[in-house]
């Protein structure tokens, strides 16, 4: 075992010397290479920028190991590491976060999505105490976390712009509302499956506090109602992506509010929202008429203003073909053709006649070739 270790370290030293020789252009003095005034003689002397550059090429586990090699590397990595993912951890994620949070204080992105729930409140508190620059946090599937984590994040990470707490079923609306009061810069929020947290009270708080919100996922949050969504629409005019899949309580009023108050709406999910009728669809179409760009807008603005790009109305069986076809005609970015399918209507058996423009053209050109069944 010892022989193997010394052989490995000899190989490493040879490798290091070779690198240094190349760097010096074969004019190097013995015992070191000068690089920007600093003499490099050993691995611990390589400059911080170089170390971080190497770090960006290796996986997260390796960079964590590198931070434990010596104090020079530890300091360099702790000062420079901004993105970290610990999702590869199968058993000890909680302890790992407790060890690493006090050191990696410059983190901006942290991914802690788990396959097996390991994360506990004390770990999130450790993150909130140390990583004040955090902008993007993924805590999805952390079943064990309670509102304590949300309170800690509210106080410790006010610069959060992207937060994913999907699957954290133990959070309540009180905790979420408290968080939004402090984290006002939130742009992307994923609350998929947070049944207790995503209630009308929480949505009203979001509408009051997080006015820069662009993307909100409320999938399968059964307690979401019209009051909440309407507060959201009134409070967050920059909303672009809203997913209300499985929010069975909402009615046309929610969609109408979103259509009227959020001119940048690009993606809307209404899967299983059985109460939606043609009224909602027509209001979406009419909002486009109101917000249509002028002739002299730049090409980029025109693309942005193409309106709705993606709509999921699967299982909305109350809708009729004239309304949905009108919508499809109004928004050129909504497609039913197989290449760019963005208008999803699974389970709406009466809507099979609705087609986007490209689908109709394809139909016309292929006269002799029989179409495969959709």
């Amino acid at each position: 075992m010892v022989g193997e270790a010394t052989k490995l370290s000899e190989e490493l030293n040879l490798c290091f010397e070779k690198l240094m020789m190349l760097g010096a252009g074969f004019g190097g003095k013995t015992g070191g290479v000068k690089m920007e005034g600093v003499v490099i003689t050993e691995w611990k002397d390589i400059p911080m920028e170089l170390l971080l550059r190497i770090g960006s090429l290796v996986d997260d586990r390796t960079i964590i190991m590198a931070s434990g090699v010596c104090s020079g590397w530890r300091d360099a990595i702790c000062l420079g590491l901004t993105h970290l993912s610990l999702s590869w951890c199968k058993k000890h994620m909680n302890e790992l976060v407790l060890s690493l949070a006090p050191k990696f204080t410059k983190l901006q992105t942290l991914v802690l999505r788990q396959d097996k729930p390991q994360l506990e409140d004390n770990a999130v508190e450790a993150i909130a105490n140390s990583c004040h620059d955090l902008q993007d946090l993924d805590l999805s599937k952390s079943f064990k976390l309670s509102d304590r984590s949300l309170y800690a994040l509210a106080h410790g990470c006010p610069n959060l712009t992207k937060l994913n707490i999907s699957g954290c079923t133990a959070f309540t609306d009180h905790g979420l509302a408290y968080l939004t009061n402090f984290c006002r810069k939130l742009k992307i929020l994923n609350l998929c499956g947070c049944v207790k947290a995503a209630t009308d009270i929480a949505l009203q708080a979001i509408g009051r506090n997080c006015n820069q919100l662009q993307s909100l996922n409320l999938g399968w949050c059964e307690n979401v109602g019209d009051v909440g969504v309407m507060s959201l629409a009134y409070g967050c005019p920059d909303l672009r992506c809203v997913d209300l899949c499985g929010c069975v309580c909402i009615t046309d009023d929610s969609v109408i509010a979103l259509a009227n108050r959020c001119p940048h709406l690009r993606s809307l999910g209404l899967y299983y929202c059985r109460n939606i009728t043609d009224r909602a669809i027509y209001s979406l179409a009419h909002s486009r008429v109101k917000n249509k760009p002028g002739m002299w807008e730049s090409m980029k603005d025109r693309y942005d203003e193409e309106g709705l790009r993606s709509l999921n109305i699967s299982q909305c069986t109350a809708l009729t073909p004239p309304a949905v076809q009108a919508l499809c005609d109004t928004f050129p970015a909504l497609h039913t053709c197989s290449g760019r399918h963005s208008l999803v209507m699974s389970g709406c058996l009466n809507l099979t006649s609705v087609h986007c423009v490209c689908a109709i053209q394809a139909h016309r050109t292929a006269t002799s070739i029989p179409h495969p069944a959709h």
Binding site: R61, I64, M65, G68, S71, C89, K90, K91, H92, E95, L96, S99, L100, P102, K103
Partner: protein, 106 residues
């Protein structure tokens, strides 16, 4: 275990600075100032303070307090000299108090 990132370590409770390896533990049955302590053959990232003579449970010793290199928290002491033959084995070894260190299960 593919999960383990590194060797089993102990860190300063205050700043999580790595101070010792689990493999360096000689005995876990020592008594510190306020509770249990570990005897270790080696400690890292610690600063050794001035020597002083102290009467410990096991007799007179010359010890030096050890401080965490980052946050200067007193973590224990180092045995510099022992004056009884039965205690000589401690010379050069370190005591870390259990309440001052945290096990890193990474």
């Amino acid at each position: 275990m593919a999960d383990l990132v590194g060797p089993r370590l102990y860190s300063c409770c205050n700043c999580r600075n790595h101070v010792s390896l689990h493999d360096d533990i000689v005995s876990k049955a020592f008594q510190g100032r306020n509770g249990r302590a570990f005897l270790l053959s080696h400690a890292m990232n610690v600063v050794v303070g001035p020597k002083e003579d102290r009467h410990l449970l096991t007799g007179l010793h010359t010890v030096a307090d050890i401080y965490c290199a980052d946050c200067r928290e007193v973590l224990g002491w180092k045995y510099e000299r022992a004056y009884e033959a039965s205690q000589k084995y401690k010379e050069g070894k370190f005591i870390l108090e259990k309440s001052k260190i945290v096990k890193e299960n990474w």
